[in-house]
């Protein structure tokens, strides 16, 4: 037959091409990382452009902040600033800027660059996404110091100010519009600054020879490869193509770690925000604390942690604090919060007490005679949340609440939850250095917006004047002991009123391969979080990791 020839030839060609294919191997000393999931990259290293499609190194390896907060140690690590202090009753914040640091083009770094960066945020509102200028009144250089005056004392704003990436004045002063600037040739103070190659699926950034930490970084260059989805990241990890990643992998120990226990490692500390079930307190009967507590008791959190989260987390206690806030956790508040224990019988009794008797078909009825029925909203793409919502709905049905999961596309879910257009919804919570913003979002009256008005926090629309006064005192608290006392009081308030229903503390994904590099943080050496998702904390890792 005539066809046989060409077909056989092309099969042979294909095989020859394939057999000749070497595995992708970077040069020694080049650390391969993936954090962004995308099929292609665009060249953009603008660290101020939070709204843009900015490459990972911009805020994780190139541009540095004044101070880095380490959530594992609960400490502030001096970085471009050597120290900071509050004065004038908290109205004045003074940073002493490091001497001897240089920009990667050789020009000296100084307080002028810090002042310039903050003034840039005030001039270009699109860049001030942390709304720093809501708190700042003025900023000026004072010798080697940077002096910031706050409109009124507000301790929690320290994090956002301290961790703002700083850009060089002598370059950015000539940028006509920094909000649309792609900064293709970055000049920065960080450990990795030289973009040596950039293609749409792979790029490399070499180390900064002028880095201010002498002898660092030990890694020669960083390489970034594009992977469009989790499956591809997983395959690359298994094939030893990647040194560092932050992917969610189901059954990670069986699939990844056990394949090569000497070099495949994962560490998922529970320092991401706690995931909550939000109950819309503007809808009856969810305004009744007994009902919220009863719903909470009907949730089998052990099962959620084991099945939906593959055993990566544990049930949350009633304070809703993740391990990032472990040093604030008050054991007496935890002990009082018995409403997170799975107890269908008590849940049923509490619902009876709240005046919601079972009607025909076993479904409970409100005072108006209508059956108690809720959709549990969740984004469809978060497979772990969807599984958790299913376990929640099953538990609620067992106590006579007609609940069903409604998984929708991310934006639709966000629109409903932010407008308060829901009964029950699974959602994240605030993550910061202290639980201030978490509890502010949970129960301050100032964060309650009317239904229908999109809100970034307090979706359940719950406010307590008692919480307001504690939060106001925290804004002024400079003494750690007082701070701790106030957070204890907030925890007790939260446990008493159950504004939202905590489910589990969020794990922060991180995997590494130790066959080429050492010095990654792990449970034995928890000097920093492993996850490459945290900025600017990745700087702590990049300045420690070394080639074997």
């Amino acid at each position: 037959m005539r066809l046989r020839g060409p077909v056989a030839t092309s099969v042979l060609c294909a095989l020859a091409l394939g057999c000749a294919s070497p595995r992708e191997r970077p040069a020694p000393g080049v650390l391969t990382i993936t954090e962004e999931q995308s099929a292609t990259f665009i060249r953009n290293f603008n660290p101020l452009q939070y709204a843009g499609d900015v490459r990972w190194p911009a805020r994780h390896a190139m541009y540095e902040p004044l101070i880095i907060y380490n959530p594992l140690a609960g400490t502030y690590v001096p970085w471009l600033a050597e120290s900071y202090r509050f004065a004038d009753g908290g109205r004045e914040l003074r940073f002493t800027v490091r001497r001897g640091a240089r920009w990667s083009d050789g020009r000296p770094f100084g307080p002028g660059d810090v002042v310039f960066t903050f003034k840039l945020l005030s001039r270009w509102k699109a860049l001030d996404v942390h709304t720093l200028w809501k708190h700042l009144a003025s900023i000026e250089a004072d010798g080697q110091d940077v002096l910031i005056r706050l409109g009124r004392p507000h301790m929690p704003v320290l994090d956002a100010i301290a961790q703002q990436p700083i850009v060089p004045e002598h370059i950015w002063i000539n940028v006509p519009d920094p909000s649309t600037f792609a900064n293709e040739e970055p000049v920065a103070t960080g450990p990795f600054t030289r973009v040596t190659s950039f293609r749409n699926q792979v790029y490399e950034v070499e180390r900064n020879p002028l880095y201010w930490q002498a002898g660092l970084p030990k890694v020669k260059a960083l390489r970034f490869r594009a992977y469009p989805a989790n499956e591809q990241v997983m395959l690359a990890l298994l094939g030893d193509e990647l040194d560092w990643a932050g992917a969610f992998i189901p059954a990670v120990d069986r699939i990844f770690v056990r394949r090569n226990p000497a070099h495949h490692h994962r560490w998922f500390p529970l320092i991401d925000a706690t995931v909550f079930l939000y109950a819309n307190t503007r809808r009856k009967p969810l305004d009744d604390v007994r009902v919220r507590k009863a719903l909470s008791m009907a949730i089998d959190r052990e099962l959620i942690a084991k099945v939906a989260l593959h055993g990566y987390t544990r049930p949350s206690d009633a304070t809703g604090l993740s391990d990032a806030y472990a040093r604030f956790r008050d054991p007496t508040a935890v002990a009082r919060g018995d409403w997170v224990a799975f107890d269908l019988e008590r849940a049923g009794r509490l619902l009876d007490e709240a005046g919601l008797p079972r009607g025909p078909g076993g479904v409970r009825q409100g005072a108006d005679g209508k059956p108690l029925s809720f959709a549990v909203l969740t984004p469809a793409g978060y497979s772990d949340w969807v599984a958790a919502a299913q376990i929640i709905a099953r538990g609620l049905r067992q106590v006579g609440v007609d609940a069903a999961v409604r998984a929708s596309e991310y934006q639709a879910w966000f629109e409903q939850i932010s407008n308060g257009d829901f009964g029950l919804a699974v959602g994240w919570s605030e993550a910061a250095a202290t639980p201030y913003s978490l509890y502010r979002a949970m129960m301050s009256t100032g964060s309650v917006l009317p239904l229908g008005e999109p809100s970034g926090e307090n979706w359940h629309r719950f406010g307590l004047p008692a919480a307001d006064s504690l939060l106001a005192k925290l804004e002024l608290a400079t003494d750690p002991e007082e701070e701790k006392r106030l957070f204890s009081a907030l925890q007790h308030l939260f446990v008493e009123h159950a504004p939202a229903i905590p489910l589990f503390p969020g794990p922060l994904w991180g995997e590494f391969n130790s066959s080429r590099f050492t010095g990654f943080p792990n449970a034995q050496d928890p000097y920093a979080p492993l996850s490459p998702h945290l900025e600017p904390q990745s700087l702590l890792v990049l300045t420690r990791v070394a080639p074997r």
């Binding site: 095989l15 091409l17 394939g18 939070y50 709204a51 749409n200 469009p228 591809q232 934006q411």
Partner: protein, 325 residues
């Protein structure tokens, strides 16, 4: 000639319609780019920052007709705007980066699949009832009916990961520089084998079946009988008499398919981490990136029109009746 001119007039009208549709379709989608942005920031944006971002992204509340006129004006100057999902890259360059790879991979796969399927269909019809005809079409239909994602994952896992014969992703090796060098061309070819092969395997059955069935009918025609009676060689009858006529319906399908090549193959691109239009499209939809969506719709519709124009030309060559009318 007159036929071709008439078609040209039709294409001009269709081109205007596609330009307009590319403008209208994103705006008819549910959702609002501003809300999408609010969601992307998890709601942590003050009204002032939001306003400033809207300005930076070029959103405006002008009436639709004036937006449409502005769009036509920019289009005339070849300016497709700034992408939102890949801000601040211009849409033109974002699409250009993906277009080449889509054209290469999906185009190659469609051409191979069509050619192979048509040839196989021809042979199957010619040898109807024999083992080749009774075994291959059901087998290929079966393979084609498998979920593509599953098939591609299997190919990636076995061919790329377990056996290590082929790379597990990307369009070419990290360590080669693009250019007309043997190393680059070889690397591109190696990276294209698995993704192209999965598309071919998944689609070849359809072409084969279509060709086989039309060819069966053609083989019963009087002119084939006449050719046999004249004593022409079987190969000549098969190719020049039967297959040439039977190929026309398949060719129409091929024209359509060729146009849609530019919309990319989303699943192929995701499974094999291949750069291309399909992934851009899904990302643009997810983030309500109007400028990018407009650009993508425009390239796809114009490509469909262009491909159909080419098919029209080929018809004239294949079918003498067209030349006369």
């Amino acid at each position: 000639m007159k036929y071709l001119l008439r078609r040209l007039g039709f294409y001009a009208l269709a081109a205007w319609a596609s330009v307009t549709l590319a403008f209208a379709i994103p705006r008819l989608m549910p959702g609002d780019p501003a809300v999408a942005m609010f969601a992307r920031f998890r709601g942590k944006l003050t009204p002032e920052a939001m306003e400033a971002l809207r300005a930076a992204f070029g959103f405006n509340d002008a009436p639709t007709w004036s937006q449409y006129l502005g769009y036509l004006g920019h289009l005339a100057r070849g300016d497709l705007g700034i992408s939102i999902s890949q801000f601040p890259a211009p849409v033109g360059s974002v699409i250009a980066g993906a277009l080449v790879w889509t054209l290469f991979l999906t185009g190659l796969a469609v051409v191979i699949s069509f050619t192979l399927g048509t040839l196989l269909g021809m042979v199957a019809a010619w040898r109807r009832g024999r083992w080749f005809d009774s075994a291959l079409p059901p087998l290929l239909t079966f393979v084609g009916a498998l979920p593509y994602f599953w098939l591609a994952m299997l190919a990636l896992f076995v061919g790329g990961f377990t056996l290590g014969w082929f790379p597990t992703g990307h369009a070419y090796d990290d360590n080669v520089t693009p250019g007309f060098t043997g190393a680059f061309v070889g690397s591109v070819a190696r990276h294209a084998v698995l993704p192209a092969a999965t598309i071919v395997v998944a689609t070849v059955g359809g072409w084969m079946l279509g060709m086989r069935n039309t060819m069966m009918r053609t083989l019963g025609e009087d002119y084939v009988l006449l050719a046999r009676a004249k004593g022409l060689s079987p190969a000549r009858i098969m190719v020049r008499y039967a297959a040439r006529n039977a190929a026309v319906p398949n060719l129409t399908g091929f024209g359509m398919e060729l146009g849609f090549v530019l919309s990319g193959s989303l699943l192929t691109e995701i499974v094999f981490s291949y750069p291309g239009q399909g992934y851009l499209l899904i990302r643009a939809v997810q983030s309500l990136d109007y400028p990018l969506l407009q650009g993508l719709f425009l390239t796809v519709t114009l490509a469909v029109l262009g491909a159909n124009w080419l098919v029209d030309l080929v018809y004239v060559w294949l079918d003498p009746r067209m030349r006369r009318s």
